[in-house]
Amino acid sequence: MQLQIHHRGTRGARILAAAAVITAGAIALSGCSGGTAKTTASAPLTIGISLSLTGDFSDSGKAAERGYELWASITNKAGGVLGHKVELTIVDDASNPDQVVTNYTSLITQKKVNLVFGPYSSLLTVPASRVASRYNYAFIEPAGGGPSVFSQKLKNLFFVQPAPTTKGGDVFANYILSLPASQRPKTAAYAKLDDPFSAPIAASIQKRFEAAGIKTVYDQTYPAETSDMTPIMSGVAAAKPDVVVGGSQEADAFAQIKAMIQLKFNPKWLFESNGANSPGDFPAAVGRANTEGVFSSADWYADSTIAGSSKFIADYTAKYGGNAQAIDPTSAEAYSAGMLLDAVAKKTGKVDNATIIKTLHSGTWPTLVGNLSWDQYGAPQGAYLLIQWINGKLTTVYPAKTAQHSPVAPKPHWAG
């Protein structure tokens, strides 16, 4: 076949070839940039973090950012970590897993940061932790506690919360099962949000309740976009359970409770895994009077009595303003990640990835979210706090050792 030559084509091809050569040159040059990853005496300690500053997780991502930056500034005021000033490199992943892989790859291989902290949410933690593991970076992360994170069996990962997220409701089961048999609920209903954490929290409680003889009279899982909880809560109300367990996030927890108020259904115990642990949003969503007696669980909240909490609140409000009740626990968790770094440095005199990984795997480490210790795959071995709304305030009610008040039961009636 005759090959035809088009003038346009030749010109186009030449332009393209030139562009290609330039691009290749630029690539080769950029590949040569970047320094080493070692910290010399006065070099800063660079920590790379990918956070969801935009997108679905942006509110929590920004709360984490505040926590990290607060820790960095407090630590630097005290002289830094082992004499090195802490420098945070924070990039936005737009709540997108593809972007988070790109970000950590870039932070580790291009910006060559010394250390990394984790992003927000298990969704993003899973792909991010793989990247970190590949390059043998320690992965201290405050917000990825779902089962998918630990089933990866990574040895470099540490989840900065008292227990894996799915165990968030176990403390409620502990409380209920600690009651004498005559005072326990006989029947239970479960309304579970279909996401990696919420449904498992309720399911974990359900397993223990059923084993103890508490009958399941209603069990329903609903998708994340469900805006109207009335059909489900009608089913719950019709089954007349003694205790209602909601495996929920914020919006649907609020919707569940509003539906129950509308249906005028008041169980003797009501536990919501999320939503009811938000000191500002919960009363705003359902009305202050309706919060009374609702249980939830948390690792940190403004009135927590854990050591270091009041100093943290003071520093936070000094830097960011606002009041203590508005502080998102994610900030405390992020701050605690930094605290772990300080602790390892103090104990071992070193702060490189291998040391961190080795050191954190033994012993107990105090943070704002409790004393933490982990198993070999990064799952923390503690338990959350059981909190309840009493007189318009969140109060720790179980276990008795750390309780500020004994649990209130049965739950008072809705105010309407």
Binding site: G55, S58, Q220, Y222, E225, S234, A238, I261, Q262
Partner: protein
Amino acid sequence: MHALVQAIILGILTGGVYALMASGQTLIFGIMKVVNLAQGALVVLGAYMTYTLFTQLGIDPFLSILITTPLLFLVGIAVQWALLRPLRGDDLAELSILVTFALALGIEGVLSFVYGATLTNVQPSYANFSWTVFGYQVSLVRFVAFILSLVMLALLYLILQRTKFGRSVRATVQNPMSAQLLGVNANRVSAIGFGLGSATAAAAGSVFGMLNSFNPGSHYDLISRLLTIVVLGGLGSIGGSVVAALVMGVASSVVSALASPIWSDFTFFIVLLLVLLIRPRGLFGARTRGAL
């Protein structure tokens, strides 16, 4: 049985609100042959406007409709004039879909910037109030929303049937070229049509904000439902979209109650596919030349 009837009641009430949103969408399509992928985003925008008016100025959400509707009417006209009128060519259909999607993204971006991503809702004091009618729960907000939707749909009907503008619209929907030959100003009709479509979104948005938790990303779910409704009803037929909305509302509510909520959205799509298999132009769709 009780659960079934309760579900049907809920479905009808919800369907009414969807009917309002969908009517605007199908009107826009009928006039301009444009699939407005931003309809969901406009509803969310309306919801946020209501939220701001409520939390900052204490205006009751139902009353705020009087403010948001004219505002979004003007916004709709502006959008049509700036973004849709300049489009030319045989790819008008595809381009307009993409342009309206860009608009939806833009609205989402602005709302994210201003309000953040937390789920919010509009909570007037009567939000949790409900009546018990023959043993069935009827929520106040849902009921008033339903009545409101009927009123607005009736208004829309009156506009289309009794005004000169309405006649122009109907002529344009039936046969754009003849309408133009008879002196109908296509640009004006399109602009006002888009304005009306956006206005219905505003009204529905106020109500939506009270019934659901929403954030800037909620428009995806909304638009997927709206699209199935308008296609089911027949693109361009307002009556069709009302019927389809009610059908979809009841079907998904019943599936939610009887089977499981995780399949309730699915019903929307399955019903749509089944209908399209038998009647590719939807229940009440007109047979038009070429496409459809």
